[in-house]
């Protein structure tokens, strides 16, 4: 029986060397929090966009109605 010369190294993956995987993980790990934060920000912004533009449009529509009403009242004032 042949003894494994490097028992603590990860198993090789297809197309890569055993030594490359931990090195890559070490390089990528610091990027993860930033990526997660970016995705969280995007989700939050998209959630806000699902509601607030419609609310703003509705508010603006209300303002237009209010303006029409005010303009009619202003015109109705009779100054003699």
């Amino acid at each position: 029986m042949v003894e494994n010369p490097t028992p603590n190294l990860p198993k090789p993956i297809a197309g890569g060397s055993a030594a490359a995987v931990p090195a890559l993980a070490i390089e990528l790990l610091p990027l993860l929090p930033g990526l997660i934060e970016s995705v969280t920000n995007i989700v939050e912004r998209i959630q806000q966009h699902a509601t607030t533009p419609d609310q703003a449009k509705a508010q603006l529509a209300e303002v237009m109605t209010h303006l029409d009403s005010a303009a009619a009242k202003v015109a109705a004032v009779q100054i003699v």
């Binding site: 703003a56 303006l67 009242k73 202003v74 004032v77 009779q78 100054i79």
Partner: protein, 134 residues
Amino acid sequence: MTRMMTTASRIAGVLALVVALTGASCSTMGTNKALVVSGETIAGIGDQFAALGGVYTKQCTPQISNPAFVSFCKSFKEYGPKFQTAYPLAVQTFKTAAAANDTAAAQGAEKTILQLATELTAIGGQALVTLGGK
């Protein structure tokens, strides 16, 4: 390894682009809110004019009911037609600006009406003083 880092950079780039685009869209929200505030201000001033017009109709037409209102009636009679001419123009300017998402033009319409509103407040003050003194 380099290829993996390039992929990570691409992902980060795409995310940054998405954040930038959503951020740009969100700045449109600020525009809408500014338009809402300007529009409400213009509409509110119109309402104030109409309310004061009600006082004028009651106290000044067909004739001045109380000598204390002489000054108010005279001032409003001079000022009212100016406001009635300017107001629809400001409303139209605001609507055009709002349709174009042009906050600056909408605020220009608001400014015009605010200038007229200063005089309106002074005339309203005359009526209030008179009513308060009755």
